[in-house]
Symmetry: C2
Subunit: 213 residues, 2 copies
């Protein structure tokens, strides 16, 4: 069996304790002989998933207490893994959510680092540059590449810091490990979402609801 | 005579004390019978400006002391208008620069609000939304539009606040007035760049350098 978290850019697959990251195109060309328990935020894959008998959507079996309207199922999963703290899923977008005593207090969505690069490139060809992840955040930049890198990374850091105060910050997603490096009170856990997928599967299996096995 | 600041999205024209904002397309369709003293960061307009005898580039007559490599001439002009403080030009991009005793200490470049919207739209059609400029920055968002609006605006606010400490903040550009509203120590001055264009013109005229008149 495989657990799978399907995003807009990549699909993350967990099989036998190993995590595999595939682009959506790579993912669509894989063949699956075993059952895949998934969540998906990518609307383009609906028919592919619906038509494949091996795919089982765990979303209908997730309960989450929030007043937030329109929260993606990946974000819900990451939040369900944390009782108290800030939950940061840093992928194509960077979602930041506040959990207090198991209750979701709201959250916000920053562009991911690649989306910042795309935004700069759209403004001017002079800003079509890769973000320098080694840029110093305590020195004012003196060139264009550092100027965009400092702005993107430091503004992300400051808003997360502002939300966190003294709370623990749980990072997951492709840039989660990198961003976690900026915070003392950070925990990077690439299994955050998968823990909840597995818990949901286990609960469903034991309750015998749905054709899970 | 006209003073003109040509950007990537719009051209700002000052004539007889009145400011006119034209999209680049509108600007290219104007006819000019009088002399236009300009600065331009838009590489696409080079041949148009070079071929038009009425256009006079003020850039070669601007001196600016900085270690920063590749600073746009509009940014240089805005900085030259300020001796001490933070200079924010909020247009297609939001440039933020630090001036200390007339010397440029460096700066950085955030995406402009429209560029944030474009970045979100590229990530997912679910994020293709207008930024809500009235979003509350002291309450955690509870829906997608507020989530992207809060993230973009608050991250911009926090990084400018972090750079400013107790310095005055001078805003110009299309979103300058809006962003200035978030700061106590803010001054919005849409003439910031034009003051420097006029000073440069006056100095050039009095020194009789170049065929200025």
């Amino acid at each position: 069996m495989i657990f799978c978290d399907i995003g807009n850019t990549n699909a993350h697959l967990l099989k036998d304790g190993h995590l595999y990251i595939k682009s959506i195109n790579e993912f669509l060309n894989l063949s699956f002989d075993e059952k895949v328990y998934y969540i998906c935020v990518n609307d383009n894959l609906k028919s592919f998933l619906d038509e494949n008998k091996n795919f089982f959507d765990l979303k209908p079996y997730m309960y989450f207490d929030t007043k937030y309207k329109g929260m993606g199922i990946d974000r819900i999963c990451a939040c369900k893994a944390v009782d108290d703290g800030v939950v940061v899923d840093a992928g194509s977008a960077i979602t930041v959510d506040i959990m207090e005593n198991g209750i979701h207090a709201g959250g916000y969505i920053l562009p991911g680092l690649t989306a910042y690069e795309a935004a700069y490139a759209l403004i001017s060809s002079r800003l079509k540059l890769d973000i320098n992840k080694d840029v110093k955040l305590d020195v004012m930049p003196k060139n264009t590449r550092d100027a965009i890198s400092y702005a993107a990374i430091k503004s992300i850091k400051l808003i997360i810091e502002n939300s966190a105060e003294n709370k623990k910050i749980y990072f997951c997603g492709g840039d989660g490990k990198y961003l976690a490096g900026f915070f003392k009170n950070a925990i990077y856990d690439q299994m955050l979402i998968f823990k909840v997928l597995k818990e949901t599967f286990d609960a469903l299996k034991s309750s015998q609801k749905g054709k899970i096995c």
